[in-house]
């Protein structure tokens, strides 16, 4: 049975996967094979959309100054994601240009493999740094409220353990 044909014959309903809204870090794995994926960057922050995350932070943190610190970290997350998304697009364009060449050799692709792996490592390191910076700005209870999907409707005291 042919996959494409089967899909065309299949149900017309759409899954919600594509309708989750913008994830906090929209880094696709289009070039994942070559490394420039930022693999897991979205998951490091729970995969929530930025507005939802900010709402959860507002609900979980009563202290405006502390909240402002978290907001600044989230701003840096977004800025990093945008920067790496641009890097990823350039990298992806170079990879696909090589793959489209009929005369390309494995040696032609090797520098791109290395470049992709290096980009991948930089993205990983930077987002891990930001994730743990954010962790340091929230109490355990606040972290639960923001990321465990049970965003507290009432602010969690900043002094909570």
């Amino acid at each position: 049975m042919r996959a494409g044909t089967s899909q065309r014959r299949g149900s017309r309903r759409c899954s919600g996967r594509g309708q989750r809204g913008q994830t906090l870090i929209l880094i696709f794995l289009g070039a994942v094979l070559f490394g420039a994926a930022g693999a897991g960057a979205g998951g490091m922050f729970g995969g929530a959309s930025l507005p939802v995350l900010r709402t959860h932070v507002r609900e979980a943190m009563a202290d405006q100054d502390l909240r402002a610190q978290v907001d600044r970290t989230l701003d840096r997350v977004v800025a990093s994601a945008k920067r790496y998304d641009e890097d990823r697009k350039r990298f992806e364009a170079d990879v696909f240009a090589q793959l489209a060449r009929h005369d390309a050799t494995p040696a032609d692709l090797r520098p791109l493999v290395v470049r992709g792996d290096e980009l991948h490592q930089r993205i990983r390191g930077e987002f891990l740094d930001l994730r743990f910076e954010l962790r340091g700005q929230l109490t355990r209870a606040q972290w639960h409220a923001v990321f465990a999907g049970a965003a507290a409707s009432a602010p969690v005291p900043a002094s909570a353990p």
């Binding site: 996959a3 149900s11 990983r124």
Partner: protein, 158 residues
């Protein structure tokens, strides 16, 4: 057993690995969604189906067409395996992130494990890529490469 069938009169039929059945069934169950709303596995299947159809239209030599189809099937298996690894990574990362006591070492281990899968699959995909190049003319590849691009670009961490 799932099979890709070429449309040409001299089409060959190549049995697919049974392991792909689950992926195909999942893609079918998810239904047909247009454009960006398509799940990754469905995008992969669609791109490779288009590739198979172009092979049938443009490669008159049945032996070469069969070689190409085998490589397409290999790409299908490897990209679906990669998508499975990405889905698993996504779920595990979200669970780990939700734990305020999670350590950096735990994140690194999780990402390293995924990275090992990614590198292994990259080598296999590149092998299939060069098999495709070896079985096509430059003109034929000019028609087929966009499907490979679509399939590779479909893998996603959502």
């Amino acid at each position: 057993m799932r099979q890709f069938r070429l449309r040409a009169a001299d089409a060959v039929v190549i049995p697919m690995r049974p392991v792909l059945l689950g992926a195909v069934a999942a893609a079918i169950a998810l239904g047909a969604c247009a454009g960006k709303s398509q799940p990754p596995r469905q995008k992969i299947a669609h791109a490779l189906q288009e590739m198979s159809e172009d092979v049938a239209r443009q490669v008159p030599d049945p032996a070469r067409a069969a070689r190409l189809q085998q490589s397409i099937d290999g790409l299908d298996a490897d990209l679906n395996e990669l998508q499975g690894a990405a889905d698993a990574l996504n779920a595990r990362l979200r669970a780990l992130n939700a734990n305020p006591d999670a350590t950096r070492a735990e994140f690194v281990q999780l990402l390293d494990d995924f990275d090992a899968d990614r590198r292994r699959l990259r080598e296999r995909v590149l092998r299939h890529h060069f098999e495709l190049l070896g079985a096509t003319s430059a003109d034929e590849w000019a028609q087929l490469s966009r499907h490979e691009r679509d399939a590779l670009g479909a893998v996603s961490l959502q």
